[in-house]
């Protein structure tokens, strides 16, 4: 356990040191977040109406609803993107072979590559929410932080499996991230990101109910805006944990198989 933590720390520290050499990026991202939040605020002012507020399940107005949908998309993007981007960078920089000849196991290499990107995404989301709260009145006072953290963790577990599947695809076919395209494509319409699923036709609502993103967003809005505790959001949490419990080991098995395949075909470092 200690050894695994040291390995994860080594990856986190490596990525932090690399990020430190691009200091202006932090400032630019904070400014970009401000513009993003301002855009949602003014769009909400334009479209908000009493009827719209009634259609939003957790209250708080369209600004809060859409901002949560947007930052959650960032998280989902990180979970889906991190593994194959790390793999691609390692392959292109020539470090992949050197990582694979160390004594660190493959699951630790994969998990380690994801620690910093997830931490950075969490920080970026915090900046979005901070701008929203300080400048535009995002209603944060009722938030239940334990439930928020539980939902985020369950979301990461649930969607990391899809990210690892994408990395397996990249190992074998060298380009593309079909799982990400599919999930983000479906979720942008049938996931409740920028509008509630109740406005969708019945057949799309059915798809939304099968989509774990819908559960994650419902739980996140309930915890952040409605102050719902862990007990109140146990059902969507359970769905996310079940999704992760099936997908994570399955995706690890697929990744190991893909790695064996590339070691057989000699295409591990091919671009």
């Amino acid at each position: 356990m200690t050894r695994t933590l040291r390995e994860l720390w080594a990856f986190f520290w490596r990525d932090l040191l690399i990020a430190r050499t691009y200091r202006t990026v932090f400032v630019l991202e904070a400014i970009e977040a401000l513009f993003g939040v301002a855009m949602f605020f003014y769009v909400a002012r334009f479209v908000d109406s009493p009827q719209l507020q009634q259609a939003l399940p957790q209250g708080g107005g369209y600004f809060a609803f859409s901002l949560i949908g947007f930052v959650f998309l960032d998280y989902l993007n990180a979970a889906m993107d991190t593994f194959d981007r790390s793999l691609e960078e390692a392959r292109d920089s020539g470090t992949l072979e050197h990582l694979l000849v160390t004594q660190t196991s493959l699951p630790a290499i994969l998990a380690g590559s994801a620690v910093y990107p997830f931490a950075a995404t969490t920080l970026r989301i915090a900046v979005y929410v901070a701008w929203g709260t300080v400048l535009f009145g995002f209603p944060l006072r009722d938030a239940n932080w334990l439930a928020v953290a539980s939902v985020l963790l369950a979301t990461l577990l649930a969607f990391s499996g899809l990210g690892i599947l994408s990395a397996s695809y990249l190992l074998l076919f060298k380009r593309g991230n079909p799982a990400k395209w599919f999930l983000l494509g479906v979720s942008s319409v049938a996931g409740g990101m920028l509008f509630p699923v109740s406005v969708l036709p019945d057949w799309l609502q059915l798809i939304a109910r099968l989509n774990p993103v819908t559960y994650a967003l419902d739980a996140m809005r309930a915890a952040l805006l409605g102050g719902a505790g862990v007990q109140a959001v146990w059902r969507p949490l359970l769905v996310l944990v079940a999704f992760g419990a099936v997908l994570l080991p399955a995706s690890m098995a697929v990744f190991s198989w893909a790695l064996r395949r590339t070691k057989t075909t000699g295409t591990l470092t091919h671009r």
Binding site: R3, R6, E7, W9, A10, W13, R14, L17, I18, T21, Y22, S93, G94, T95, E97, H98, L99, L100, V101, T102, Q103, T104, S105, L172, F173, R260, R261, T262, K263, T264, T265, G266, T267, L268
Partner: protein, 272 residues
């Protein structure tokens, strides 16, 4: 008799043919039909240095990658210090230091020290041991200045030395080097060879298996030479014995004669 540091027994390796266009999607699942190694066997004893000598595409890098657990053999067995390179890959990785001979493989925006610390941690070295090993290797490899500079600012030669330092960081007993002086200039290569001979091979039971096209390097470092041609082992003997059996005075002539390229070379050199 001590266990062989490296044992390669009837190793075969074939790759699927390269494909382009839509057929590239089927490539990962195609049957391997391009032969890279056709049943090679040899042993490297503890403390011994063996050179792999062969033309481009002869199979040298493929063999080194199999031993480094980066490729799976199609048939045959490969063991390092008694551990099987396929079934006990993690134990094998504890025994080896691998150096791919290019100046890639580091994080360009990290310093030499940060890179070494990162890879050392992944090889389970404690922070104290890491600090000691890095300063010892930096002194031996004359890397003191490079340690606190970003990799992207270092010359190829310095990065090569850093790469060798990384391979030795966890004190492996077996070194696998693939064309270790490929991107070095003549002076850098000469210093590198001298360093390898005196500082690395001159100490203890370290075994070295390396591939090289530089025959003077092979003569200087190798106890024995394995000549590989088209995936097959032609002969494995000392440089002196190779010259003696082929009736030549240089390793280059011996190599050309052993691989059947001597007449071809003679024709090419014949004046019109």
């Amino acid at each position: 008799m001590p266990e062989a540091a490296i044992r390669v027994a009837a190793i075969q390796k074939s790759f699927p043919p390269a494909r382009s266009g839509w057929r590239a999607f089927l490539q990962p699942f195609e049957k391997p039909s391009v032969v890279a190694l056709a049943g090679i066997s040899f042993e490297v004893r503890p403390g011994e240095t063996l050179a792999l000598l062969g033309a481009n595409g002869a199979g040298k890098s493929t063999l080194l990658k199999i031993l480094a657990t980066l490729l799976l053999p199609s048939k045959g067995d490969a063991t390092i210090a008694g551990y099987d390179a396929v079934r006990e890959a993690r134990a094998v990785r504890r025994q080896i230091g691998y150096h791919a001979g290019s100046d890639l493989g580091f994080y360009a925006r990290l310093t030499g020290r940060e890179n070494l610390r990162f890879f050392g941690r992944l090889n389970h070295l404690s922070e104290t041991a890491l600090t000691k090993r890095i300063s010892l290797l930096a002194e031996q490899f004359r890397l003191e200045e490079a340690l606190d500079r970003q990799l992207r600012t270092l010359s190829s030669g310095t990065v090569q030395r850093l790469s060798l330092a990384r391979a030795l960081l966890h004190q492996p007993h077996v070194l696998l080097l693939d064309e270790p002086t490929r991107s070095l200039d003549a002076i850098g290569a000469s210093e590198f060879r001298r360093f390898l001979k005196t500082e690395v091979l001159g100490q203890g039971d370290n075994s070295l298996l390396f591939a090289s096209h530089t025959l003077s390097e092979v003569e200087l470092l190798a106890d024995r030479v394995a000549v590989i041609d088209a995936g097959q082992l032609v002969v494995c003997d000392t440089p002196a014995a190779l010259k003696h059996t082929t009736g030549t005075t240089s390793l280059e002539d011996a190599f050309l004669r052993l691989t059947g390229r001597a007449p071809q070379l003679a024709q090419e050199e014949e004046p019109e």
